[in-house]
Symmetry: C2
Subunit: 421 residues, 2 copies
């Protein structure tokens, strides 16, 4: 069955289309923290942050269905849904981040954010870490691709050494915040020397794609100082930490304790509906809006706004941020109790946690990959992250309960006991 | 009321956010070819091609609601909805265009298409017309922006003189196809001389954003020959002509009679749901898939596929392409009967038609703008296009009936009789 579907997929979609698992799963149904395959087998979803409120949350489904039946058109007509969502969203931000721009994907949001920094500074140069991913448009992919683009590397983009937990920048976790900032300062100098100038740096505040290596409050303080001194913008990609996932705060930058100029949002914003966006200070938004005649047909349509509004309301009404804090702490305790010689570190923020595997101080992506496959065989869906894909990535829907955390920890314990090293 | 909403909009979204009409309309409901404003006033929608099947088509609404309640996740799991849609869509294409890639917006599709041309040729250089629009990502906006991007114009993009009806390339409509191709040939030579090489040209097959100036079967034959001789790709943007709108054919490139390498799709694909995509030949798709690890979280999710599948089925089941041909021909007859000294030309393909206004041979955007405002005051929604925004753009939902065409023509007649020149 699965092999038939894989053959059809290759025929209809071509080669090298990303897919999970050695033997991929045909998922047919989702509810809460559970997914079911075509054979009726149930999986505990510990990976999919897009289904932030749980798969197929009835309030979001109803909001989409109700609004789709009444009106779905673009934002060149007035519609209250867009304004009401903009009000509800921007009140969640401090630092003067009071204006919103909607897109359909996080990639589109980050593509706009890069131009926002350029418009606000009049400079072209952009910085990201050398072990990250912010999206799939041409301009955003420049921040993360490891293959030279056709036509060559863009001269106005610099990648700085990413924080790392096994080999911390500056030689120790304590030295890492300043060492990271020093890398950024060098990149700024290079951009300025090359005549590009420095527009901004794009960062996930918890460095989710880098594996959250030794990150915590104050980590970015030296970097923020360097960026500010150079007149650049801080573009904060909240696609993974945002909307209460980290439990202690609604946004990752609040946990770290810095003031971004632009915040970008994506995956969880509409619980799976294609809606994303940015929040910025008025002068930054105005610089972009004056420099570009930006319009996006599907973005900010009434259905997307209804899905996003329902998502925001359910987070509050069901206390999901508090749940992320409490269950996340419980889960982290349980995971820290796992005992295996290849576990180098276990860390997390709310319902975002990871287990890093290393052998003789070197990342062990192979072992991590085998754990992911074994977990799937036992009905638990996990992901991987890190330079060598050596960190188990767990990012379940927010209604994840204590019992789910226990099931996850018990399953991992059983796997680690049996798994040949 | 409207001014309150505009003030909230400026406060929450910033300045210069695109909006229609001197006094914008608050649209609250849509059904078929009709939209209603907050005061209960009804408008005949002669502009919105996104609502291809009519606003809020019940089969699409139901497909979205039903699938959203069951599963909405990404394409790294197997799902039949994606494969079934890929099969249904690709059977609509000839020329070996047998593989699909899904995105969320036409901009994302075009952003991928540009890289597809680059991956397939190993060259960087891209060409578009100097009076077009293909989308809003950084890379795609390079094709259409009229303001120098921060950091300067990209050296690998060339804009060629667009076809024009008032001032045809080569001096006459008959000479225009070859003259356009000559412009493309010059741009290819420049790209090659500058070391970029030539990857491809992106075109709407009916030059919708250029105002369909003198375009018809065979128009692109000389251009296709030039592009093929240079080894470049033809990237065909079917966002406006596609899915049966032009009545005579399902796709614009069939009407023109050429074989694209890549076709991009957008607005009408899901009747307003954010879904878009590309279709390409296997070797072109493979070149892209091998060169880029492209993944798009929301793209090809089960809900988007259900919306797109329902849209494709309704086009057939309700005979909407045939309706576009018949009603479009009737509407064009009626519009050609309008008599006014500033009408320079009236033309169209199926349910895509325009009236071009000129004064002493020069485009008259001011007059055209006044017609659009007057039509809105009389309950008809129209748009504008053309170098000077001097061409009335009419692109109604496909269930547009003869009676609607008559209402449109009668209203325009009344406006033109009364409007001061």
């Amino acid at each position: 069955m699965t092999s038939d579907l894989m053959a059809r997929r290759r025929r209809l979609l071509g080669p090298n289309v990303p897919i999970f698992y050695d033997e991929p799963v045909e998922i047919v149904r989702g509810e809460g923290v559970w997914l079911w395959d075509a054979a009726g087998r149930r999986y505990l979803d510990c990976y999919n942050n897009t289904a932030h409120l749980g798969h197929c949350h009835p309030r979001v489904v109803r909001a989409i269905a109700d609004q789709a039946a009444v009106l779905n058109t673009h934002s060149r007509y007035l519609h209250r849904g867009l304004l009401e969502y903009a009000e509800a969203l921007t009140t969640r931000f401090g630092h003067g981040l009071s204006q919103m721009l909607m897109t359909c994907t996080g990639s589109e949001a980050n593509d706009v954010a890069l131009r926002m920094a350029q418009a606000a500074t009049g400079k072209a140069g952009l910085i990201a870490t050398d072990n990250t991913y912010h999206g799939n448009t041409t301009a955003v992919a420049y921040l993360s691709t490891r293959r030279p683009p056709i036509g060559g590397w863009p001269a106005h983009v610099r990648r700085v050494p990413a924080p790392d937990s096994l080999a911390p920048l500056g030689g120790s976790l304590a030295a890492q915040p300043q060492a990271f900032a020093d890398g950024v300062a060098r990149a700024i100098d290079e951009l300025e020397a090359a005549g590009h100038g420095f527009a901004g740096i794009m960062l996930c505040p918890i460095f989710a794609n880098e594996g959250t290596p030794g990150v915590g409050p104050g980590f970015l303080d030296p970097t923020v100082e360097v960026v500010r001194r150079a007149g650049g913008m801080i573009l904060c990609d909240e696609v993974q930490p945002g909307f209460g996932r980290i439990g202690s705060h609604f946004w990752g930058h609040e946990l770290l304790g810095f003031a971004p100029d632009v915040v970008t949002l994506g995956k969880p914003m509409g619980n799976g509906h294609p809606v994303a966006g940015l929040v910025a200070r008025p002068e930054v938004m105005a610089a972009f809006r004056e420099a570009f005649g930006y319009f996006n047909t599907f973005a900010g349509n009434p259905v997307s706004c209804a899905a996003a509004m329902a998502t925001l309301q359910v987070i509050d009404d069901e206390g999901l941020m508090e749940n992320a804090r409490e269950v996340g702490a419980h889960a982290l305790d349980l995971l820290r109790g796992l005992d295996h010689p290849l576990i180098a570190d276990t860390r997390g923020f709310g319902l975002f946690f990871g287990i890093e595997f290393a052998r003789d101080g070197q990342p062990d992506g192979d072992f991590c990959g085998r754990v992911v496959e074994a977990a799937k065989a036992r009905g638990i869906l996990l992901g991987r992250v890190g330079r060598a894909q050596h960190i188990l990535k767990m990012r379940p829907p927010l209604p994840f309960a204590g019992a789910h955390a226990e099931m996850l920890a018990e399953t991992l314990d059983a796997i680690l006991r049996e798994m040949p090293e």
